[in-house]
Symmetry: C2
Subunit: 338 residues, 2 copies
DNA sequence: ATGAAAGCGCTAACAA
DNA sequence: TTGTTAGCGCTTTCAT
């Protein structure tokens, strides 16, 4: 079933079918109707390979994450999917498990397939490498600070979130505050930095080194990290976690130790996963709009691709988003765990 | 950068490059090495459009779910992704929100793109329609009972899970048991049927109609459903939920009503999401291995596609999986909520 | 407003 | 073992 069959059935030439298919101008409305009806009747679907071969576009983008089963990503992904759908993009997802090899192979795969762009949460690749790929493939980097003019990014205001969390804890009377930090991710740096910058202001005497424990950004990671932290510093009465998963793990650890939350140990998370209000006690955490984040990623990528295929004559050139940094807000939500 | 450039640079013909690229037999090892080196040096990547045009294969499969931000799906998806990666498949994900139109458009999109197959959690399309699509595109249907010889499926033993849950509740002394059922999904039928079949055995006098309340299979859906259920039947002391999300919502509703879980209301979920042990009280639920489920989906699809591209001469034909039904186990895990 | 011709980059079939 | 030919289905010139 090719365009030729449709043309024959409708009594026109291939090109006329193509014109109807692509909403081109130079076609008589009634001819278009007839062709469209034939297409419908024959259940014809244009072959994407042949089309891509000509147009060099695939209407496909990639989404690169470390692990889709980490609930943070699906929340973002959903926004991305929805925005992608409105512009006709299909999205293919890659899990990297933080492996450099897999981050690169996802990118290579995407290029070979003629993807229109990629949105990535990269952890292993450095800015220079990313920038090189971005030359071949429109790219939006998410949630990692980039320091390269060729890289476009959408990030979260991790610093503001952590600062609000620490402020809240200090205002609640906590003197000894610890952090459950992630071992992975460039983004972790920003959260930790905000923590160590902020905490001394309130607690000049704190020995920060021992107050920051790293672990995998997972529930068990949070559990282990809290135990380690409290074993070393039993005087700590509050912790801010890298993310909600670690915070939930910390609450679990507190229960194991017979510590009441928040009265004996206050816990604040980061992300505000959909489950956060339903753990016990309901999690005080830094909220970000993950759905909006996903939409924004797709929007920025879309602008990026639009810049590469110059508009028709006479349209005013939109300000370029290439190399831009979008920073999304992060605000503390106080529930009961702190 | 085309195969022609590589051929020129390596001093061979296109075809020889193609042979090196595809590990074909008729090529001298040293020639292959030379070509491969040239490919490396030139950073050449074969164009997937041109390749697909010839081979009619895309190394791409689709995953159709209702909503990737429902944590059940990412858990399955991860297994699917991992298995897909081992056979060189990329996977493009579609969210349908239970819409018939979107289920169909995902399928059409996949066919137009020459996808090698699809794995789907379908809710709106009927068996006949699905079977029609399955004729054009190797398809594995997940978690829905199918009654059509042309449809291959991988499902969960919902009945066994629900039966175990009810038995546990009855053994714990509960007389009045309700169900928080989902409004959506064919699969719901199976769980509800198992419930109504099982409960009468233990509770002959129960008026089941009022004991089954439907709602969206989400946390708020569970909260609303439990309120509705208890307002109508305050004598109920235990509920089994369609899934963990509804169960978590039910626990939340119990808290709003000042009901202690499990002493005043026992709650059993279904799925055993990764969060289940960490809500409070830890959720008693029916466990399924979602990662294995995802892998299995990919495996079955892979066998299906292998059947369509006949093996070389003389290989023993494997038993066909087309039209088969794989049923995955579901076992109760008793924690503290029931 | 429509049709004819060309060619995108690759691989399958055939020739050497 | 290697090279040559043909053509996959579509869109983009260009001609009518």
């Amino acid at each position: 079933m090719t365009i030729e069959d449709v043309a024959a059935a409708a009594g026109v030439s291939r090109q006329t079918v193509s014109r109807a298919l692509n909403n081109m101008a130079e076609i008589k409305p009634e001819t278009r109707q007839r062709v469209l009806a034939t297409i419908e009747r024959l259940d014809y679907r244009p072959n994407a390979f042949a089309r891509g071969m000509k147009t060099r576009k695939s209407n496909t983008i990639g989404l690169i994450v470390s692990d889709i089963s980490n609930p943070f990503y699906p929340a973002v992904a959903r926004g991305l999917f929805d925005a992608a759908e409105t512009v006709g993009w299909n999205v293919v997802v890659y899990n990297t498990d933080l492996s450099r090899r897999r981050e690169e192979s996802a990118l290579n795969e995407l290029i070979a397939r003629g993807a229109d762009g990629v949105v990535g949460f990269f952890y292993a690749l450095d800015d220079a490498t990313l920038a090189r790929y971005a030359g071949d493939l429109p790219m939006v980097v998410s949630d990692r600070p980039v320091d390269h003019a060729a890289l476009t990014s959408v990030t979260t205001d991790f610093g503001a979130g952590i600062r609000a969390a620490v402020e809240h804890l200090v205002a609640s009377g906590h003197q000894q505050i610890g952090m459950l930090d992630s071992t992975v991710g460039v983004a972790a740096d920003e959260r930790r930095e905000a923590f160590v910058e902020q905490v001394p202001v309130a607690l000049p005497a704190a020995d920060l080194a021992g107050h920051v424990i790293q672990g995998p950004p997972t529930i068990p990671g949070g559990t282990a990290a809290l135990h380690e932290l409290l074993n070393a510093r039993p005087e700590i009465t509050a912790v801010v976690a890298f993310n909600d998963l670690m915070a939930i793990g910390a609450i679990h650890a507190a229960r194991e130790r017979g510590l009441a939350v928040p009265s004996e140990l206050a816990v604040v998370g980061f992300d505000d996963l959909s489950i956060a209000p339903y753990v016990f006690p309901p999690l005080t955490t830094v909220h970000t709009d993950k759905y909006a984040h996903g939409r924004r990623l797709a929007d920025v990528l879309h602008q990026l691709t639009a810049e590469r295929t110059p508009d028709r004559y006479g349209e005013r050139p939109a300000p370029s988003v290439s190399g831009s940094r979008v920073v999304l807000p992060a605000t503390l939500i106080v529930r009961e765990s702190a």
